[in-house]
């Protein structure tokens, strides 16, 4: 089947860049020219015809096809092998629970955090080690960038257009992390969320910027996690009291203390759920006394239940650091986990 997108001819690579920049089709950085061959290679890898409907954005009724996702993935620097991750992440983002329109249009300015799990991480060379939340490797860099370019070009999520972010954050260029599954005894995030270990999966979350913590002065799980919980309390005080999906990024040094004490991710989530909560009256301490009103004694937990905490093993081997990643706006958007290559609307197998 032929690609159906309009084509443009450009004399040289500089002309390609100016064509895309001048049309508002980039994130400001140079793009890889999306030629028919490169786009077709992505579709072939995913075994999809160009007009395969990936979904219809629920609020504005915009149809998203595999061809358009592939064009933007190529522009972001994706190789064909990266494309199934982009497809799956977008399928996840178009689930009602994710509330893509609200999350990407909001003045709150969140980004889409993508967490990779399963064997595909190794196939792609996606690293959950050094610099895990930064420019750790090619795969996570281009996958995260593809998510944003697709939003810009397919949903018109451009600053000042659909994207009404007051500030945004650097994760809006690319925000993808692979979990370090080899160097941990924990279940992966995807397994925690019901995906078999043998499958590869992506989790998408409407996420604020990471808030880094440090505690190198203890080996006790309760004390380590108290520091994480304190950062979540700070977010509840300074940003939003809405409960929802928070992510905890735990690098190896702190992880080893937790694992040595036989704490599972579920244990961690249970503890943090108890500790990450504030009284409404605390808002008066941070300049928000006007909204305390007569509800000062009300308690606001960061999560409604422990399973809203996404615990991710990632980060370089040394350093007593960690990070919390807060939600865009509590439960207005829910994290979605989806297996790569799974059919989301197929008939269930007959018994």
């Amino acid at each position: 089947m032929q690609l159906s997108s309009r084509t443009y001819d450009a004399d040289n690579i500089a002309a390609v860049q100016e064509l895309y920049h001048s049309n508002g089709w980039t994130d400001g950085l140079p793009i890889v020219p999306p030629t028919a061959d490169a786009v077709q290679a992505c579709l072939d890898w995913a075994m999809m015809p160009p007009d395969q409907l990936i979904g219809i954005e629920p609020v504005r009724g915009l149809a998203v096809t595999a061809e358009k996702l592939a064009i933007n993935a190529v522009m972001a620097g994706c190789l064909p092998m990266h494309f199934p991750v982009v497809l799956t992440a977008w399928t996840a983002m178009m689930q009602d629970d994710f509330l893509m329109h609200g999350a990407t249009a909001s003045t709150g300015g969140c980004a889409v955090l993508v967490v990779l799990n399963g064997p595909i991480r190794l196939e792609l060379g996606a690293s959950g080690g050094f610099n895990a939340l930064g420019n750790s490797d090619r795969a996570t860099a281009v996958i995260g960038r593809a998510i944003r370019l697709c939003l810009i070009n397919l949903m018109d999520v451009r600053p000042g257009a659909i994207d009404r972010s007051t500030l945004g954050h650097p994760g809006k260029f690319s925000y993808c992390v692979a979990e370090d599954e080899e160097d941990t005894t924990w279940l992966s995030l995807a397994e925690q969320r019901g995906i078999p270990k043998e499958a590869s999966a992506v989790t998408v979350m409407a996420a604020g910027a990471p808030r880094q913590i440090m505690n190198e002065w203890t080996t006790k799980p309760e004390e380590i996690l108290e520091t994480f919980a304190a950062e979540m309390r700070a977010n509840l005080r300074h940003y939003s009291i809405h409960p929802g999906n928070y992510a905890l990024i735990i690098p190896k040094q702190l992880r080893e203390h937790l694992q040595a004490a036989k704490w599972s991710k579920t244990d961690i989530a249970t503890f943090v759920h108890e500790r990450a909560r504030i009284h409404r009256r605390e808002w008066a301490e941070v300049g928000k006394g006007a909204v305390v009103r007569d509800r000062g004694d009300s308690v606001y937990p960061a999560m409604e239940s422990p399973d809203q905490l996404l615990v991710v093993a990632a980060g370089g081997p040394a350093g007593g650091f960690g990070a919390i990643i807060p939600p865009w706006l509590g439960n207005k958007s829910h994290a979605v986990t989806m297996a790569i290559g799974a059919c989301v609307d197929c008939e269930p197998p007959k018994k």
Partner: protein
């Protein structure tokens, strides 16, 4: 070296909504407000309510607030729109 490159945008416009017939007058009409519930909407819609009734003779103003300010209006609010002559929706950030 020349490049033949592809358009990354949908090219087709999304399904367009259709404008309702315009009203000749606001006199005696029912006007609905759909608020997203944010702080700024209170003053804005309050002022608009007075303006419409006192200066334009609007008979009735119905105020509705979405349950989630980041999501489309709730189905029961949308269903109610057909009983109004006009609707005003504001962002209110």
């Amino acid at each position: 070296m020349t490049f033949r490159v592809l358009d990354p945008t949908p090219e087709k416009a999304p399904p367009a909504g259709q404008l309702a017939p315009r009203l000749d007058t606001l006199e005696g009409k029912t006007v609905g407000f759909i608020s997203n519930g944010k702080e700024g909407t209170k003053g804005f819609f309050g002022h608009l309510d007075r303006l419409l009734r006192e200066e334009h003779g609007v008979a009735k103003v119905v105020m509705r607030t979405k349950s989630n300010y980041s999501a489309p209006a709730d189905a029961h609010i949308v269903a109610e729109i057909k009983t109004w002559d006009a609707v005003i929706s504001g962002i209110g950030d």
